[in-house]
């Protein structure tokens, strides 16, 4: 039994969904309309959120309302970005970019090193905890072999032949299994997006499923 939605916005969403799906049969004006509308709405939405969640409470109110003059510094740094639109003064943009790059690198390097290198090496080691149960022990061995052989595959300072080639080939098997797992998950993700839209069309718009 069909129960068409009485909500105007559900109809708008459904029609826009069909416009986007029409791209499966080739580029067309309906698809282009939906694409341009999406870009415009996204930018407008972001500008509104930026103003109400950031500019107003964190800059305009404290600076002009409560007189927190220190905020003039980030305000000027922010305005320097706009200099890129004036050719004569475009070099000014290097000041805030230098600040951001310096701050970003200083913050990121130790954090990423700790999380992605040190902790990952620790996680690959066989400890007394991993030896406690046969299940964790076996998987720890599998992981350890995978880490060593994959790293050796990316070792290019010596020609890969003999035993080095054998080990590197085992690394390739691990890498391929990793790619396969990623691809399988990617297929699931893309199908999920389609299913989400179909649920919207069949349930929220047409009302033929619950």
């Amino acid at each position: 039994m069909m129960h068409l939605s009485p909500d105007l916005w559900v109809w708008v969403g459904a029609l826009l969904t069909l416009f986007v799906f029409s791209f499966l049969f080739g580029d067309n004006p309906f698809y282009k309309f939906a694409e341009h509308l999406y870009v415009g709405v996204s930018v407008g939405y972001m500008i509104a959120i930026y103003y109400w969640n950031f500019f107003k409470p964190d800059l305009i109110e404290p600076l002009f309302g409560r007189g927190e003059l220190i905020l003039i510094v980030p305000l000027i740094l922010g305005l320097c970005y706009l200099a890129i639109f004036i050719q004569k003064f475009s070099w000014v943009v290097r000041i805030p970019m230098g600040f951001v790059l310096g701050w970003g690198s200083g913050i990121a390097i130790p954090a990423v090193l700790q999380a992605n290198v040190i902790k990952q090496i620790q996680g690959s080691l066989i400890t007394s905890q991993t030896l406690a149960h046969w299940n964790t022990f076996v998987w720890s061995i599998v992981v350890l072999i995978g880490v060593i052989t994959t790293v050796i595959y990316f070792f290019f300072s010596r020609e890969q032949k003999g035993s080095l080639k054998v080990v590197a080939n085992i690394g390739i098997i691990y890498i391929m299994i990793g790619f396969g797992a990623s691809f399988g998950y990617t297929v699931m993700a893309r199908i999920s997006l389609l299913l989400g839209r179909l649920q919207f069309l069949l349930r929220d718009w047409l009302g033929v499923i619950h």
Binding site: I107, G123, A181, L195, Q199, L202
Partner: protein, 281 residues
Amino acid sequence: MKIGEILGKIDRRIVFGFMAIVVIVPFFFPLNVTGKVAPPSQQLFDAVEEIQPDSKPLLISIDFDPQSMPELYPMLKAILRHAFSRNVRVCMMALWVTGVGLGEAALNEVAPEYGKVHGKDYVYLGWKPGFAAVVLGMGKSIPETFPTDQYGTPLESIPMMRGVKNFRDIPYAISISAGDPGALTLWIPYVQSRFGQKLGTGMTAVSAADAYPYLQSGQLTGLLGGMKGAAEYEHLVAEAGYSEASKPATQAMDSQSMAHLAIILLIVLGNIGFILTKGRK
């Protein structure tokens, strides 16, 4: 025309039509395919289960946008239902500007089901720009990073946020993540590693495979991967008697399973066509 050439030249519109039928039919004739709950999903459920009711809040970060809704929105609602049914307080925030409305929509939908009140049982901090600066600031002081909530209410006047100073007062954090910034690029390096925050994540399936090394190393203590992870969490919440609400991810898993079988079939047919054509050449 030989069979190999036919298989190699199937019109893409036929493939689209075939896939459409395969994914739509199970919505009308459910197969009720049930899978085993994966350990990472169970771990996330157990971590939320361990949070004391009416105590320090569970932190949920909305790190996704409407494009990832089919996978991540069901898991967000399932986690909220789990928390609210156990009277676990929720502190929500957003790191993706286009996700602000999604967090609000989920709270507005789920909180009334359990009679939960804004300020007492949950708070929505909203969004701030800066990504790393935001979470590092929260490690020092949450009220200084978010002086007000999404609706302009000062944090100090919100009852459930009294005594919540920084990550030390957050028993568990979950990043519902669609990419960068998200669990892998922000929460693990800047929050888990730096502050020792107990962390779980719900991710899009595309990035879920990348999260397993962090699970193995103990940096993550729970993981929901894509729609399957969402369906597993919905199952766990329903099985524990916490919710009788509809389960959109579970409903879609029948279609998901059929689509996977169809894709495997198409891959096999495509390869047979390729091998037969190659043999002739």
